[in-house]
């Protein structure tokens, strides 16, 4: 009990250290550059305490829950040797976690406003909503596809750079044809899709898969799933912009 308490305190301290730069930056700009006092200091201190506590619990949960289950599932699916199930699982994991992602819901409704203001769709609530939903579905589908392709890459042991460079060429070609309004948004869509719960799970899946297949190296083959998941949404969102 005593030992776990000291472990907890240790993690708490390192969370505090992770947070120190933000506190310094905000404090410096607020006091030295903008020269304004910080209002509701007690409330902010309480909030910071919650952030530190939350980060600590998250790290504990990561090591106890997300990492082990991701690796256990990868291993079980690899041992089962059924490619269709593995592929289904990868797609669903990517699709399912993205469609519910709050950042994506926010960004797609913003995008609908941009599209309506730019005259791409008519500015009615119904049209905006169907545009936003279509965009969300597109992004979620592209992330599902990305995890699927990434998993097949791990199985086959393809070098990642060829696929990524192919993806980059796809992005550049799409940029030439996509309407201007969608480009910035499409580039950003790649960054917002991967949430804090998805990332550890997907990473553990890749590493677990690469460790349980003979001839694969968890370091060179296990990583890279997230890279695909941030690349395909760019291509698909621009395609969506061209079609609509």
């Amino acid at each position: 009990m005593n030992e776990s308490l000291s472990g907890f305190l240790h993690t708490l301290l390192s969370s505090l250290r992770d947070l120190a730069p933000i506190i310094l930056v905000i404090g410096f700009f607020q006091l030295a550059i903008l020269q304004q006092p910080i209002q509701n200091l007690p409330e902010i201190a309480a909030g910071l305490f919650l952030v530190v506590l939350g980060l600590t619990f998250f790290i504990y949960g990561l090591e106890m829950g997300l990492f082990p289950i991701g690796e256990a599932m990868a291993e079980a699916l690899a041992r089962k040797g059924s490619l269709p199930w593995l592929v289904t699982f990868s797609f669903l994991l990517g699709f399912g976690t993205t469609i519910a992602e709050p950042a994506l819901i926010l960004v797609s409704s913003e995008a609908a406003k941009v599209a309506a203001a730019g005259g791409m769709i008519s500015d009615t609530l119904q049209d905006r909503e169907s545009y936003a939903n279509g965009l969300r579905f597109t992004v979620a589908f592209s992330v599902g596809l990305a995890i699927l392709v990434g998993v097949i890459r791990i199985l086959k042991g393809w070098p990642i750079q060829y696929l990524i460079i192919g993806g980059y060429i796809g992005v550049v070609v799409m940029t030439l044809f996509a309407p201007d309004e969608i480009i910035g948004l499409a580039y950003d869509a790649g960054g917002v899709t991967t949430s804090t719960v998805t990332v550890p799970l997907v990473t553990a899946l890749g590493v677990g898969l690469a460790s349980s297949i003979r001839g694969r190296n968890p370091m060179t083959d296990g990583f890279g799933l997230i890279a695909f998941a941030s690349l395909t949404p760019m291509i698909f969102v621009m395609a969506y912009g061209i079609i609509i």
Binding site: I22, V25, Y60, G96, I160, T175, G184, T194, S230
Partner: protein, 262 residues
């Protein structure tokens, strides 16, 4: 009481985000794999900790950091503030008059990336898998430096109005050249680090900065130019991580050369 209400709200919304993942995992476990999950109790406690941790984390961010950070991003990009700090009148500002904005962009990019939980997760995994060759903190600092340069460069782009895809295409070319010269073990991890930098902590603050700048710089539209900062924050870390490994390899090789020649 207020605290409990807010906490409950945060807990429910995080649970909603986690629900699809839990359904998929346990659905597959029951239907396809049909084997007991090893250490089920421990895993469930772990999931509960993740839920609790993320809820507290988000609640604290919304209470302490987001309001202040967003307000500061707006104030720093305000033309009046920039005119006052640069000594030029608000009507004739040059791109270099925005130096406080660039500095804020870089430092806030660096510091939020250090606190980003998903980057921490990937860095821990990478340290474990590589047997310590890739140090978790070294990786995080390299990524954070990449984000810092990326957000500052992105702010410069909004101020000057240079099209986004020029930067992105040049960035891709740099990544390809670096990939060619990099050791194989780092490539996949470096590509991954581009995607994990921008989530819970970074996106809201950076989006506020982008929209604030696009609103205040004459001739920019928030709709067209406000987006795009996150793209920079996902591209530059790849370059930074590849560069970090190349630099450390080069230094090792140089010290070996020195020893053999003396």
């Amino acid at each position: 009481m207020e605290f409990l209400r807010e906490f409950g709200h945060s807990l429910i919304s995080t649970a909603g985000d986690m629900l699809p993942i839990v359904v998929i995992i346990f659905g597959f476990q029951l239907v396809v794999i049909r084997r007991r999950i090893p250490n089920l109790k421990r895993v469930l406690i772990g999931f509960f900790y993740v839920l609790l941790g993320l809820s507290l984390f988000l609640m604290g961010l919304e209470q302490a950091i987001f309001p202040l950070g967003e307000q500061m991003a707006t104030q720093l990009s305000d033309p009046q503030f920039i005119a006052q700090s640069s000594g030029h009148s608000a009507a004739e500002l040059y791109w270099y008059d925005y130096y406080w904005v660039y500095l804020f962009a870089a430092t806030i990019g660096f510091s939020t990336t250090i606190a980003e939980p998903s980057l921490l997760a990937v860095a821990l995994k990478a340290e474990h898998v590589s047997g310590g060759t890739v140090a978790a903190n070294g990786l995080r600092i390299a990524v954070a430096l990449g984000v810092a340069v990326g957000i500052a460069l992105g702010s410069y782009r909004i101020v000057t109005g240079i099209p986004l895809y020029y930067f992105i295409v040049v960035g891709y070319v740099v990544v390809m050249i670096q990939t060619y010269f990099s050791p194989k073990f780092i490539i996949a991890l470096a590509y991954d680090s581009g995607g994990v930098t921008t989530s819970t902590v970074t996106v809201p603050l950076v989006a506020a900065l982008g929209l604030g700048l696009a609103n205040s710089v004459p001739g920019r539209s928030a709709l067209l130019d406000g987006f795009g900062l996150i793209a920079f924050a996902s591209l530059l870390p790849i370059i930074a991580v590849l560069g970090y490994v190349q630099l450390s390899e080069w230094m090792v090789r140089r010290s070996i050369d020195k020893e053999s020649s003396s």
